[in-house]
């Protein structure tokens, strides 16, 4: 019934989010806020020589936003800043257009169902807005608006 949206991987990551903790020695941080649902998220990155070594997050949201943050932190490890920025665009394209998913997205393709639920796109993008602001180091609270 809603299996197209809540695929197994999404449910798994929402129930047992990976990298779900504070990171004391992070060198990039950003806060995200979705004013529509009040969800808040803190993202931590450890970036060395332009490569994301570690990523983690804190905060509780809906299944979609939690799974998105969890899978995002997994997929960031080892990516350069440039690659991470490009991934943000590819993820956004996946959620908002019908174009075939980029192979670089890997497991993240499980979010393709979200495009049929326009009210939920912002849940899926919250972590990614926050990532952008962490990478760009703007220090502002990223919002989905």
């Amino acid at each position: 019934m809603v299996d197209d949206l809540y695929q197994e991987t999404i449910l798994d990551h929402s129930k047992r989010p990976r990298n779900h903790h504070e990171m004391a020695d992070a060198n990039r941080r950003a806060d995200g806020y979705n004013p529509l649902c009040g969800d808040r998220l803190k993202l931590y990155l450890k970036v060395e020589n332009d490569v994301v070594k570690e990523a983690s997050f804190e905060g509780a949201g809906c299944a979609i936003s939690t799974a998105s943050a969890s899978l995002m932190t997994e997929s960031l490890k080892g990516k350069t800043r440039e690659e991470a920025l490009r991934l943000i665009d590819k993820f956004h394209t996946l959620l908002t257009t019908d174009t075939p998913a980029s192979k670089d997205l890997g497991k993240l393709v499980v979010f393709c169902g979200v495009r049929d639920y326009p009210a939920r796109v912002k849940c899926a993008t919250l972590a990614w807005h926050t990532l952008k602001s962490a990478l760009n180091g703007t220090g502002e609270v990223a919002t989905t608006e």
Binding site: M1, Y6, C37, G38, D39, C62, A63, I64
Partner: protein
Amino acid sequence: MSTPRSILETGFDVEKVREDFPVLKQTIHAKPLVYLDSAATAQKPFVVIDAIRKFHEVDCANIHRGVHELSQRSTAAYEETRGKAKRFLNARSRSEVIFVRGTTEGINLVASSWGRQNVSKGDEIIISAMEHHSNIVPWQMLCEEKDATLRVIPMNDRGELILEEYEKLLGPRTRLVAVGHVSNALGTINPVRTVIDMAHRVGALALIDGAQAAPHMKIDVGLLDADFYTFSGHKVFGPTGIGVLYGKAKLLDAMPPYQGGGDMIRTVTFEKTTYNEVPYKFEAGTPNIAGGIGMGAALDYVTNLGLDRIAAYEHELLVYGTQLLSRIPGLRMIGTAREKAAVLSFVIDGIHPHDIGTVLDRMGIAVRTGHHCAQPVMDWFGIPATTRASLAFYNTTSELDALADGLRKVKEVFG
């Protein structure tokens, strides 16, 4: 999914009533629509749809000052609604009924017209902890402009106002108390008669936000002794973009206009303009004529059904729904006031309201999820959002059964 008639004691013939609402007869994602979002906007009966259609098909013209037949017809139809609203609220005079866009504009009108004239530095305005943003922000803006102070009546963990605390907030600097009659996020029916009396005792005025009361109970502004009372047409089964602000005549007379433009003037020269009498002084520009006519039909409709019967039937739905939901493990009701309208706001352990809302939607069940324009209420309960099923007299016990089944399905998916 048909409800056995009159299984409830009130014997309200809900199946017959449902025939009046065309929108209810549809399927959503191949399931019969279960509309449980009437607090956001109520559905419209045929009589409202027909009245709006007839206006556009037969009577359409601008109102006031027209000598031609159509203009006279449309003026008469629009102004007839003023009389209906007067009776609906039991106001003393038609001139105490001002047409506005809705509750939000009603409150803004008072804040901007009465507030600018009567609130000054050091004065105080009191609202409550359970207000809708539209009964918070206009007062914040006024207080900021005037260097006045906004005070907030706290509530207990059932979501009831604490009147002893309210008593302590009242004082010689209190100018106005603005409180909701019924909370949209919690369902609490506030003791507004007492709230108003207490305000009057210190010489303050009282404004009541009736957005959630008008669809569910009989309102008597005379009995309440409210100074201002406002509601939205679209929540009482009328169209959007139209509503009513009631104000006591002597207050309205003394207040400056709200917006400038056509209709609100008596004479205009470049040197000086004199203003029209109330209520027209507050109604600049071409109003929502079709909306006003539609709202008139809606007020007739609920009056004919009988607000006392509506309230009694909805109370039975509320009791039924509350019992049903309380049997779902991990579900916590938010808002358990002893006096409550038919609003079921709740959270379920470990499952976000947005996920609940999405799964229910796929089962044809429309509920609202989020902060319900009452973020301070969510903060008070320490939650980001709730899921809210808000009922109207066209809802049935079997729809509540469907909701409970839906929630069990939600728990299966996310449990």
